[in-house]
Amino acid sequence: MKHLDEFRDPKLARRLVDEIRRTVSQPRVLMEVCGGQTHSLLRHGIATELNEVVELIHGPGCPVCVTPAEAIDFAQQLALEPNVVLASFGDMLRVPGTSRSLLDVRSRGGHVKIVYSPLDAVDLARHHPDQHVVVFAVGFETTAPTTALAVLQAATLGLKNFSLLVAHVRVLPAMEALMQSPGCRVEGFLAAGHVCTVTGFDEYESFVQRHKTPVAVTGFEPLDLLNGIRECVNQLEANQCEVTNRYARSVRQEGNASAQEIVSQVYEIADTPWRGLGVILKGGYRLHGEFEAFDAALRFETILRRVDDRSNMLTVDEQGSQTGCPAGVCPSDDCRSGEVLRGLIKPVECAAFGTRCTPDSPLGAPMVSAEGACAAYFKYQRTI
């Protein structure tokens, strides 16, 4: 398939691996930000190939994993309201909220509809004027244009039965938070190719200079990933740091202006809670005031308040009894996804991995999601 097969050429991949091995004078630690990259690195055996020379720390780039439990609880309550349909990406369904998942709620009669695109939810609202459709708007800068476009379409169509539960997050502020967290070992970043496709990479310049950390904008195929790794390694060996674009077929320096315009029409940047990482300064989006009619948090404010009260009570209980996940990542005491999401441990270091926690019966979000690091290790790396 064009633009896939050429970037999977095993002979070239082998040469790149050899070159990286030859270049490295000491083991290097890089972080790939995006969960899609984590899966690709494991699926194609790249992480294993480079084992002793480049350690790949898996970043928090799984949108499903970083969506706060409270947002999931709110989504569940909305799905249980009469005449409300919650439209969600399929990935979100099995992620545990404070005590259960959307799938549990659906099996008890909640109205949860899986959509491939937020724009399908606009059609749903258009064809079911008697129902109110709420889109669970999760994802990074890559997904924000798709939900923003849904709002613009709904506004143009004059839909009154459509709103968003906004839980979008922004990648660069999370990278910033990780760099400032104690114990951070990251020496260079593979920036998320499709996020940069939308945002461009100008805003990475000051990050690179402040942290003296190379950033290579990187795609998802084996040659893309190896190319990004090679770039970071070369820079580290030469004591340099800059932003380079190793995914030029999709990413332009200035990003996609139309997508940015759509996002800035609908959203403004806001401090936002991330599951496992806490509130991150400028770490997400909220709807502009002029679109507040499409804000599920305002429209269903009383339900949100009820959910908030309940979640707060749970937090107090958990702290009181000294159990529960301190990062608020998951309801299980055993789950270490807070550390996995911050790159502090590898999934295999969690005692529950592959035994009590599997994709069929997950304890935490990173084992559920198609982009979660625990799921990637389970699928491709169980022997290690």
Binding site: H3, L16, D18, G139, L149, N227, A248, S258, A370
Partner: protein, 84 residues
């Protein structure tokens, strides 16, 4: 959600800025995709689609340059290897 794959634009359906749509083919399978972010894409171009929305037009020239660059790396390696 994030692993967007390239597809080929078969034909434009709607050019409206907010409702722009085209038929896009992925490995033989055709889908209707939203094109508001890639209004300049032509039929025959490859686009990267995320959650039903095309987010970029694949730059063929850049794809070719990257591959040529990587292939050159291979040649350099081979020429620097001692003769057997």
């Amino acid at each position: 959600m994030c692993l967007a794959v390239p597809g080929r634009v078969i034909r434009w359906i709607d050019r409206d800025p907010t409702f722009a749509q085209a038929e896009v083919e992925f490995d033989g399978v055709r889908r209707t995709c939203h094109m508001a972010c890639v209004a300049d894409a032509q039929e025959g171009d490859y686009v990267i689609v995320h959650a039903g929305v095309a987010i970029s037009r694949v730059d063929e020239e850049q794809a070719r340059l990257t591959l040529a660059d990587l292939a050159r790396l291979g040649e350099l390696d081979e020429s620097s290897e001692p003769p057997a």
